[in-house]
């Protein structure tokens, strides 16, 4: 007799535990304000990433198409997997001196692991991360980017 009571008690407690769990889930059904799901492609316009978000490496240019990159190649040395390639050239400045300057700053997005060592070690703060995160492309070749814009020049005062 005793065992039957215990058996029934077990069943009752078991069902009760299931109902308790269901009360929690049903509670959310009546509190839609606590739903956190984002409807991603539809909220694209007001979706703002955090300012430090590591989207992709960019080289900020000012209005007169000037950047801060001196072509020293420290980012290339610090990159762990050959993402960055700095191709420099020698230019002659106005007062007749020969100087090293950047020709092309190649950035391979497909290889980048977003370790941020290039941005952190750059002595003239020429590199930064953008918040762009939609990187899907149809052609792998378009993941190889040139960071300095065509015709751009070194900002005055940056050595």
């Amino acid at each position: 007799m005793r065992s039957i009571i215990e058996y029934l008690k077990e069943i009752f407690n078991g069902v009760l535990s299931l109902l308790r769990g269901m009360r929690v889930t049903a509670g959310y059904f009546f509190r839609p304000s606590e739903i956190v799901t984002q409807k991603y492609p539809n909220n694209r316009k007001d979706l703002v990433m955090f300012e430090r978000f590591k989207g992709e490496v960019v080289m900020p240019h000012n209005e007169s198409n000037e950047h801060k990159c001196t072509g020293c190649g420290i980012c290339e040395i610090n990159c762990p997997n050959g993402t960055i390639e700095v191709i420099s050239k020698t230019i002659v400045t106005e007062d007749g001196k020969k100087k090293r300057a950047i020709d092309r700053h190649i950035y391979r997005l497909g290889m980048c692991t977003f370790c941020a060592l290039c941005v952190k070690t750059c002595p003239s703060n020429a590199l930064a991360f953008s918040q762009k995160f939609e990187h899907a492309v149809f052609d792998r070749a378009s993941l190889i980017k040139q960071l300095n814009k065509p015709g751009s020049q070194l900002m005055k005062g940056v050595e």
């Binding site: 430090r52 762990p80 977003f114 370790c115 060592l117």
Partner: protein, 374 residues
């Protein structure tokens, strides 16, 4: 006819081999288990690993110490902070650099947040493995808040790369303290929900209590670490026994049980979430002022010799062994990863149980496969 059935059931040669994985939802990665079954009973398990082997140890030999950080992120991606911390602590120990308190405290908070989100994901996936789909959504919903904290300060959600030899990559974000406090306030309310949904659930209790018991003796001889070992009563918390960063300044309990079955391995992680929150609460208001990084030489070279550093990740003890020959690259790097060692006990635990229990046992050991293969 009846006789024939009996022959199949008793003949030991009649084993049925099942490949569980490499693509199986409950292994959470590419782990292949070759399971010998007799009927539904597990006779033997042969784990096959190497499907996500990237040669991280070998790659470390050709890169510099600050660059190793981005590889350790990708080993145990749920304890990325602790993995990075091991490299940083080792380099700082070898170069005898004094680290300011601010860095130590921030590192500790970040490590505990990492542990919290890892255990949240464990709770989520463990519930899903055992048939509770709701757990997965609730676990990920709360984990999202920690990932937002990470993203705001470090710029990455899982692959954080926040620690660097000599300190931190950036200072904490101005919103950091407020967000962490908000999260703890929120999660203290939500954690009892976890218990109502899963811990108290009768189906869950029946499927985990007494399943895959691990004795203290076996835990020691198999080298199990982390919450899985503490559920068997083995006091193995590196944070207690060999405190690093700011762990010597905070008070927290080492969660210990003696039963060691699947249910208590789950409870050990569940209780560790509360301990992590206590640890964070003690530190979050007392972050000392100071620099966020110590100025290191541009090229870090360790003196010739052998170095070892261990840290407590969310899954157990991570050991990092480095031999340096005085160059900017390490001569040899070896990671003693907790997951690889914990995998060894799976056959011992699941033998004699049903194949459905194997899912529960493997889930309770909380494997992260990229950490096994490295």
């Amino acid at each position: 006819m009846e006789e024939k059935v009996e022959i199949i059931a008793t003949d030991e040669k009649q084993e049925f081999i099942v490949n569980m994985g490499p693509q199986h939802p409950s292994t959470h990665g590419v782990l292949r288990l070759v399971v010998s079954l007799q009927g539904e009973t597990v006779k033997n398990i042969q784990p096959h690993i190497g499907y996500i082997h990237r040669g991280i140890e070998k790659m470390c030999e050709s890169i510099t110490y600050p660059q190793i950080i981005h590889l350790t992120d990708r080993m145990d991606y749920l304890s990325a902070h602790q993995n990075n911390e091991s490299v940083c602590l080792l380099v700082e120990k070898a170069l005898e650099v004094d680290i300011p308190d601010r860095i130590k405290v921030i590192r500790t908070i970040m490590s505990e947040l990492s542990r919290l989100q890892s255990h949240q994901l464990f709770w989520a996936t463990f519930g899903m493995d055992l048939g509770g789909q709701t757990c997965y959504f609730y676990g990920l919903r709360d984990r999202e808040m920690i990932l937002d904290i990470f993203e705001e300060t470090t710029g990455g959600r899982m692959i954080v790369s926040y620690n660097c030899p000599g300190g931190l990559m950036y200072d904490i974000h101005p919103n950091f303290q407020k967000r962490v406090k908000d999260f703890i306030k929120y999660f203290r309310k939500k954690l009892p929900e976890y218990d109502t949904i899963l811990t108290g659930n009768v189906i869950f209790r029946e499927r985990t209590s007494g399943i895959g018991p691990l004795t203290l003796q076996d835990a020691i001889s198999y080298g199990i670490t982390g919450p899985s070992a503490r559920a068997s009563g083995l006091s193995c918390d590196v944070r207690k026994h060999e405190p690093y960063s700011a762990y010597d300044k905070v008070k927290f309990n080492e969660v210990l049980f003696s039963e060691g079955d699947t249910y208590h391995r789950y409870m050990a992680r569940n209780d560790e979430m509360r301990q992590s929150m206590n640890t964070i609460e003690q530190l979050i208001d007392n972050i000392p002022e100071g620099p966020y990084a110590v100025k290191m030489k541009p090229v870090i070279k360790l003196p010739e010799g052998e170095y070892f550093q261990r840290v407590e990740t969310a899954r157990g003890e991570l050991g990092l062994f480095v031999i340096s020959d005085g160059n900017k690259n390490p001569y040899r790097v070896k990671f003693r990863s907790p997951n690889f060692v914990n995998l060894g006990v799976l056959n011992h635990l699941a033998k004699g149980f049903k194949i459905a229990d194997l899912i529960a046992i493997a889930g309770s050991l909380d494997f992260v496969i990229p950490d096994m293969d490295r």
